[in-house]
C-alpha cells in the first residue's frame, strides 16, 4: 500500500540529481545538433533542384511520422550489423538530434517563408552572394517568427530524453529504474522523476515565452 518514505527519498535524491545533469546534457547536445541540421534540411528544400527538395521533404515526413523510440533502436543496433559500433550516448544523440532536426526544419521553413519577397529582391539588387543573403538578410528576419516553435521543441526534446534509457544512457528514468530494482521501491524514484520534470519544464516554458517577448521588444516588433 501507499507509504511514502521520506528517508529513502532523501537518500536517492543525490543520484537523481546527477541523472538530471545527464538528462540536461543529453537535451542540450541533441538540441544543438537539431538546430544546425534542421537549418540544413530547411534550406535544402529551398534550392532550385526539384529532386533534392523532393527527397528531403519525404525524408522529413518519414522521420516525423515514425516513433523516436524505434529510431533510437535503429541507430543503436543497425550500426554494429555493418561493423560500426556506436556508444549509447553517440547513437542517442544522433537519433534524437535527427528526429528533432526534422521538426525544427518545419519551424525554420515557416520562418523563411514569412520573409517578404522584396527582401530577397533587395539583397539580389545589392549583389549579395547566396550565403550573404541568408546570413545577413533572410535568417535574422526568419528567426523571430520561428522563436516560439523553437522554444517549444527545446522543452519537447527535454521531455523525450527518457527514451534514451532503453539503450542505457544513464538519464533520469534509467536511474530511477535502477534504484527501483535495487530497493524494490518504485513509488519514490518515479514520483521524484515526475516532480523533477515538472520543476524544470514548467519554468523553462515560462522563460522561453519571456525570452521571445524580450527579443520581439528588442527588435521593435511589439
Amino acid at each position: 500500500m501507499f507509504d511514502w518514505n521520506w528517508e529513502f527519498a532523501w537518500e536517492i535524491l543525490p543520484r537523481l540529481i546527477v541523472a538530471t545533469g545527464n538528462t540536461l546534457i543529453a537535451a542540450g547536445a541533441g538540441y544543438a545538433i537539431a538546430l544546425v541540421l534542421g537549418l540544413v534540411l530547411a534550406i535544402a528544400q529551398r534550392t532550385p533542384y526539384r529532386g533534392l527538395t523532393f527527397v528531403v521533404r519525404e525524408f522529413v515526413e518519414f522521420i516525423r511520422s515514425t516513433p523516436l523510440l524505434l529510431q533510437i533502436f535503429f541507430v543503436f543496433y543497425v550500426g554494429p550489423q555493418f561493423g560500426l559500433r556506436l556508444s549509447p550516448w553517440a547513437s542517442g544523440m544522433i537519433a534524437i538530434g535527427l528526429h528533432y532536426s526534422c521538426y525544427l526544419s518545419e519551424v525554420y521553413r515557416g520562418g523563411l517563408d514569412s520573409v517578404p519577397r522584396g527582401q530577397w529582391e533587395a539583397a539580389t539588387a545589392l549583389n549579395m552572394t547566396i550565403a550573404q543573403k541568408y546570413r545577413r538578410i533572410i535568417i535574422p528576419q526568419a528567426i523571430v517568427p520561428a522563436l516560439a516553435g523553437m522554444g517549444n521543441y527545446l522543452v519537447g526534446i527535454f521531455k523525450d530524453t527518457p527514451m534514451l534509457s532503453v539503450i542505457g544512457v544513464a538519464e533520469l528514468i534509467h536511474t530511477a529504474n535502477a534504484i527501483g530494482s535495487e530497493h524494490y521501491r518504485f513509488l519514490e524514484p518515479f514520483t521524484l522523476v515526475g516532480l523533477i520534470f515538472l520543476a524544470i519544464s514548467l519554468p523553462a516554458a515560462g522563460l522561453i515565452r519571456g525570452f521571445e517577448n524580450f527579443i520581439r521588444r528588442k527588435l521593435g516588433l511589439q
Binding site: P67, L68, F73, A205
Partner: protein, 221 residues
C-alpha cells in the same frame, strides 16, 4: 537473409504486433478525445475549482514525459491499490497524455467561435448545454480538426512506448525478433516502414476525410 525471406518468415508475428498497435491507438484515441473535451471545457469554466483542476491536469501531463507517466501509472499506481494490467495501463497513459494536449486545442477551437454565435444562441433561449452542444462545439470542431491530425500522428508514435511495459505491440515484437535473430536492419527497418504507412496512408487520409466530411455537413464546402 534478404528482406523478403525475412518477411515470409516473420509476417505472422509482425502482423499480430500491428494488430495490438492499432487496438492501442484506437482505444487511446477514444480516451484522449474524451479527456480533451472534458478538460478543454473545464478550463473554460468560470468555476475556479473546476478550472484549477483542468489547469493542473494539463500542466502535469504536458510538463512531464509520456514515458514517466506510463511508468508511474504502471509501477506506482498499484501501490495505491489500483492494479491495472499492462494493456490497459498502455492506452490509459497514452490517452491521458494526448488528452492534455488536445484540451488546449479544444479550448482554442471554442474560443475561436465568433461571439455573435454565443449571443444568437442565447437570444433564442437555448440552455447552456444545448448551446454548447448544438451551436458552439460543431463550429469549434471544424476549426480545430487540422491540428488534431498532427496530434493523432503523435498518438500513434506514442503507442510505441507501451512496448517498454511489455505490451506485445509492433515495437515489442520487432525488438523480440531483433534479439533472437540479430537482423537489426531488417527488423527495425520493416517496423519503421509499417509505422510510416500507418501514419501517412491511414491516419492522415482519415483525418483529411473527416475535415472534408465535417465541412460538408456544416455547409461550408
Amino acid at each position: 537473409m534478404d528482406i523478403f525471406e525475412f518477411l515470409v518468415q516473420y509476417w505472422p508475428r509482425i502482423l499480430s504486433g500491428v494488430g495490438v498497435t492499432v487496438a492501442q491507438f484506437v482505444l487511446a484515441a477514444i480516451l484522449g478525445i474524451a479527456v480533451a473535451l472534458t478538460m478543454g471545457l473545464l478550463k473554460l469554466s468560470t468555476n475556479k475549482v473546476l478550472k484549477g483542476f483542468a489547469v493542473t491536469y494539463i500542466e502535469i501531463f504536458r510538463g512531464t514525459s509520456l514515458l514517466v507517466q506510463l511508468y508511474w501509472i504502471f509501477f506506482v499506481l498499484p501501490l495505491f491499490g489500483f492494479s491495472i494490467d499492462k494493456f490497459t495501463a498502455g492506452y490509459v497513459a497514452v490517452g491521458m497524455n494526448i488528452g492534455a494536449y488536445g484540451a488546449e486545442l479544444v479550448r482554442g477551437g471554442i474560443l475561436s467561435v465568433p461571439k455573435g454565435q454565443w449571443e444568437a444562441a442565447l437570444a433564442i433561449n437555448m440552455s447552456p448545454a444545448k448551446r454548447m452542444w448544438r451551436i458552439i462545439l460543431p463550429q469549434a470542431l471544424i476549426n480545430m480538426l487540422p491540428p488534431w491530425g498532427n496530434l493523432m500522428i503523435e498518438l500513434l508514435k506514442g503507442t510505441a512506448l507501451i512496448s517498454l511495459i511489455s505490451v506485445a505491440d509492433l515495437m515489442f515484437v520487432t525488438k523480440q525478433i531483433n534479439a533472437s535473430t540479430f537482423l537489426s536492419a531488417q527488423a527495425f527497418g520493416i517496423a519503421l516502414i509499417i509505422y510510416y504507412i500507418l501514419a501517412r496512408f491511414l491516419v492522415t487520409p482519415f483525418m483529411r476525410w473527416l475535415e472534408r466530411f465535417m465541412a460538408r455537413k456544416m455547409g461550408r464546402a
